[in-house]
């Protein structure tokens, strides 16, 4: 295994450790960002543009809670805890972010990993300083980057969103019935949307207006 893959492998190993052992949380495969104490949970399969979107938004007024995993508190339902680490970017996303945020710092790329080109973007120290500060979930947004598409939010039913979140939960099986109940509660507190976009600028605008979107 080439030494150049060490950093991505470290990141994936750390993710594995959390996914396998941190069962005091309901763990979702998603990015999480926060503003004014309210969090957006963005679950998505790999390749949907979640990390790119997340990386763009944390330079536009949103705090990074996590780019990979939502840690949903099992005791205080609705509370999400940070897993604040460098943002992992792959392939074309790296170029997009380098161009968009010239002041951002990236580590050296790892090429030919089984996810392609991988690099990590340094997180603003002010976000890292708040890594013990939880947030309350308020929105669930399923992002999908689609070439040429205008940025648009579409309501998604809570029931449907809950099923999708369960599919994206690492430890749903471990938690059993308790996991189901918790997910019902979490989704009940959130407005859920599908989000298609192609331009990060447009996406930032839409997210800015999230608190005003009529439910």
């Amino acid at each position: 295994m080439p030494v150049e893959h060490a950093f991505p492998l470290l990141e994936w190993s750390m993710n594995w450790c959390v996914a396998m052992h941190a069962h005091q949380y309901l763990l979702l495969h998603s990015a999480v960002i926060e503003r004014n104490g309210q969090a957006v949970v963005m679950p998505a399969p790999p390749g949907s543009g979640k990390s790119t979107l997340c990386a763009g938004l944390i330079h536009a007024g949103w705090r990074l809670v996590s780019d990979e995993m939502a840690l949903l508190d099992r005791a205080q339902v609705g509370t999400v805890w940070p897993l604040c680490r460098p943002v992992s970017l792959k392939n074309a996303s790296i170029d997009v972010l380098r161009a968009r945020q010239p002041e951002a710092r990236f580590n050296s790329e790892s090429i030919n990993t089984n996810k392609g080109r991988v690099s990590h973007m340094r997180v603003d120290p002010s976000h890292v300083a708040r890594m013990d500060e939880p947030a309350q979930v308020r929105w669930v947004v399923f992002p999908r980057w689609t070439p040429g598409a205008p940025a648009a939010l579409r309501r998604r039913s809570r029931a449907d969103s809950m099923v999708e979140l369960a599919h994206n939960a690492f430890n749903y099986g471990h938690l059993g019935a308790a996991g189901f109940e918790q997910l019902v509660d979490v989704v009940g507190r959130c407005d859920c949307y599908d989000f298609t976009y192609s331009s990060l600028d447009e996406a930032v605008d839409v997210f800015d207006r999230l608190p005003q979107v009529l439910t």
Binding site: H21, A22, H23, Q24, G173, H174, L175, G176
Partner: protein, 373 residues
């Protein structure tokens, strides 16, 4: 967290059975304790022991979360196990044969104390040898398939072993180990399965088909299984199973010690029983009543073997974790592994078998052709 000789070597033993108070542990010590417990498959049991002593609720936040998760995982597994057993019962409903659940499956189905905190990777069943074919067919119809493709391995199992190759469910991936006795027929400790089945008891009086070993046989099985299998990853766990079974049956079965000693003599399992009791008393505390001490001492093999095995087993039973290393563990495990193979098959069978296995490893394309005819 330093490996090597240090105060944390016997940490799991000290906290679980040695009376060391968990309330005084540093976070580093917790890390080692949890690592040792995890490698010994003792996490959930450690958690319940600490809980009973009111040490779980006051543990630091992260060890507490870790241990709580371990208990939840086991509780979840037991729910799924009971359901799985129901599926197997449905599959075997029209097979005219008693079926025994062994080990963990039996402990959970019968609600024995040994079920507490216990995980299992497969479900062990036992039937008479002449029923194996019929049971295997019924399980096949319900989705359990043998994964063993190699003709040699199939023959090795069916001709010489006490179990057929594992059956894996095609959709759920659960595994059944189907036995006809508890030790290999070629073994130095061969046991007649018919005797065990004859003495078996129903798990639930309402369903006479589904049975478990009688109490003394359950304890003896635990003892002989531990020392003949050769893998000590769950040695401590298995020893604790036996201890909890012993403590339970001593209360529920009148004259239990007398029966146990008599049955050990009848089945010629005195030596495994001796080794197990020796280490149970060494680790967990006095178990043998004074009146039976002489009879238990008489179970022992001659002095050189007794001393050597005690030395080897003491090391092999330590948690397989860097912080628990005190020296000699790897050597002891290797020696016991070799011994378990030697016990299982006499030399005239073992040597050709090992040659064949080595050949198969080096020349995988010849796997389906027997080399030694």
């Amino acid at each position: 967290m330093m490996a090597g000789p240090c105060a944390r070597n016997g940490l799991l033993e000290d906290v679980a059975w040695g009376g060391r108070d968990a309330a005084g542990l540093s976070l580093d010590e917790w890390a080692d304790l949890l690592g040792q417990a995890r490698s010994a498959m003792m996490l959930a049991r450690l958690a319940s022991m600490l809980d009973r002593n009111e040490r779980l609720s006051i543990a630091p936040e992260r060890p507490k979360a870790y241990l709580t998760a371990a208990m939840e995982a086991v509780a979840g597994q037991h729910v799924r196990l009971k359901w799985e057993i129901e599926q197997i019962q449905a599959a075997l409903r029209y097979v005219d044969s008693p079926v025994l659940l062994l080990k963990g499956g039996a402990y959970v189905a019968a609600g024995l104390p040994a079920a507490a905190g216990r995980t299992m990777s497969d479900i062990d069943l036992m039937v008479r040898p002449d029923r194996i074919g019929e049971v295997e067919t019924a399980l096949f119809r319900a989705g359990w398939l043998s994964q063993e493709r190699d003709a040699y391995n199939q023959r090795y199992y069916r001709q010489w072993m006490h179990e057929i190759p594992p059956l894996t469910h095609v959709k759920r991936g659960t595994v059944i180990d189907l036995h006809h006795t508890i030790t290999a027929p070629t073994s130095s400790f061969a046991v007649d399965g018919a005797k065990l089945i004859a003495a078996s008891r129903p798990i639930d009086a309402a369903d006479p088909q589904w049975r478990m070993l009688q109490p003394v046989d359950m304890v003896l099985h635990s003892a002989v299984h531990l020392f003949q299998e050769g893998e000590f990853d769950h040695g401590l766990r298995d020893l604790l199973d036996m201890d909890w079974l012993l403590q339970h049956f001593v209360v529920t079965e009148p004259g239990f010690w007398v029966q146990l000693l008599a049955r050990a003599a009848e089945l010629r399992l005195q030596v495994p029983l001796h080794h197990a009791l020796h280490h149970i008393e060494r680790l967990f505390g006095k178990r043998v009543p004074d009146v039976h001490r002489a009879a238990v001492a008489a179970l022992a093999p001659p002095w050189p073997q007794r001393a050597l095995m005690a030395w080897l087993l003491t090391r092999a039973l330590r948690p397989h974790h860097p912080s628990a290393a005190q020296g000699g563990e790897e050597f002891a495990r290797t020696m016991l592994y070799l011994r378990s193979h030697w016990l299982r098959m006499p030399l005239h069978l073992l040597v050709p078998h090992l040659v064949r296995k080595a050949w198969m490893r080096h020349f995988p394309e010849t796997r389906d052709e027997p080399v030694v005819r």
